[in-house]
Amino acid sequence: MTAWILAALQTLLFVFMAPLLGGWVGRVKCHMQNRAAPSLLQPYRDLAKLFRKHTVLAEQASWIFRGTPYIVFGATILTAAVVPLVAVQLPTAAIADVIVLVGFLALARFFTALAGMDIGTAFGGMGSSREMMIGALAEPVLLMAVFTLAMTASTTNLSEATTFTLNSGLVLRPSFIFAMLGLMMVAVAETGRVPVDNPATHLELTMVHEAMILEYSGRHLALIVWAGQIKLMIYMVLVANIFFPWGIATELAANDLAVGLAAIAAKLILLGVVLVVWETVMAKMRLFRVPQFLGFAFLLSLLGMLTHVVLETGG
């Protein structure tokens, strides 16, 4: 019973800390670019403002448009429940493995793309088409990186894979390094960060994610923005806990949980800085360069799998 309560608490923590992570990334980015930084709590204020506002719906909007924010938010929360954040071996981790996790994210993307086309504006359709192009290229990379991990740990369950890396101690696996780089590149593409998409602008010709959700307002927009922040956190936690699982709690004692919480907070703060540095040194790519970017990410994941077979199992 305590395990279930802890699992629920962990998911709640995931959902409510995600805007804070977004605030941290935004703040570091401002410092990096010599701008006055907003408060860490700014994303919460933005969300609260959006929740208070009225929702404006187009006359032609169907149930898909109205339902999409809830579907996207629900699917993202389900994904967050599966990812081990503070502790491993929680009962929610057994619900779904990492392939289902990829499926949840694909479901959210599918409905966002449908909603983009539902209203019938030119921008929505354009954004949906771009998003699906990026998604079709990014998903194989994600799966390939995950398979590399699964082949090493002999499981697709995230919690067990994390326990496996935790137990094997310091092993310099070439495959993990490639899989991690591939996963990071695909995370950048999937969460709409700089070389692929720019979350900070509403420039008509280049936007991808923003174009799809252009018609949303009020609480619908709040849910979608919040889901986007949770998605960013999911990817960062995946990178942090699969490849650097040290510190995560394996027992459900208060002491271990506190250590796990501190560890994941430190890892996310560091990863946030890495993300900001990456976003600051990279320039936004032309859309037609994105397949090349993701092709390289695919190559990295593929190399991860190949080096696993060639170097780690041979003989």
Binding site: S168, L170, V171, L172, R173, P174, S175, I177, F178, P291, Q292, G295, F296, L299, L302, L303, L306, T307, V309, V310, L311, E312, T313, G314, G315
Partner: protein, 225 residues
């Protein structure tokens, strides 16, 4: 033998081998000349570090000399000469359009699979710690060839050629802990002389056809003009 049972040094050798392979892919994907030369220099550096590490782990002191020679020649001297040539020929800002970049990378990945199959019988006969890296070294050789095939500029082809030589040297280090010193010295100076000759050749080529694009070598002058 399980990967986790190897010592950290052995794991580091295999990790470096994987990164050497990765630099080959970076060269394959890099369309600009100067970053291509830098990637080649990094491959040389990594090769030298790997060789030094193999020397340390397996206690073969003569490999330190090979490592030092590799570092001086392939990480410093040849890249420096190539860079100087690129600047003097005024091609250091050129971008060479690679036809089908993603397809080339996938072809490279399939070459890795192929070299794994080729290396399986050798790996089964060998008892060395580094035997798993033999497939990687064959892959580096084949990727160098792919680089030569997929590029049109003479300077990229020369880098591909040097990268093939890197692969051969790597194969010697991981399969038999280096060739005899005389052979290694000979090859090292061969490569050095080759890179000087290539420089002369570049200038000749540019003087006669005003480009480093080898595709233009098989056109007849009278027809063009």
């Amino acid at each position: 033998m399980e990967f986790t049972q190897l010592s950290l040094y052995d794991q580091a050798i295999l990790l470096l081998a994987a990164i050497v392979l990765f630099t080959s892919f970076i060269m394959l994907a890099q369309p600009r000349i100067v970053p291509l030369i830098h990637a080649f220099a990094w491959q040389g550096t990594l090769l030298a570090v790997t060789t030094a590490l193999v020397a340390y782990v397996t206690d073969h002191p003569h490999l330190y000399i090979s490592a030092g020679m590799t570092f001086v020649l392939k990480a410093l001297l040849i890249p420096w000469m190539l860079h100087r040539l690129a600047v003097r020929l005024n091609i250091h800002r050129d971008i060479e359009a690679v036809a089908y970049p993603s397809l080339t990378l996938m072809a490279g990945a399939s070459l890795v699979v192929f070299s794994y199959y080729v290396a399986i019988p050798i790996v089964q006969l060998s008892t060395l710690v580094t035997r798993n890296a033999i497939a990687i070294s064959i892959a580096v050789i084949l990727l160098g060839m792919l680089l030569m095939i997929s590029r049109k500029k003479a300077i990229s082809q020369v880098i591909g050629f040097m990268s093939i030589e890197n692969g051969l040297f790597f194969a010697a280090v991981v399969s038999t802990f280096g060739m005899p010193m005389v052979v290694e010295l000979g090859i090292a100076f061969d490569v050095l002389v080759a890179s000087i000759l290539f420089g002369v050749f570049f200038f000749q080529m540019r003087a006669s056809i005003d480009s480093l694009d080898v595709d233009r070598l098989n056109r007849l002058r009278e027809v063009d003009e």
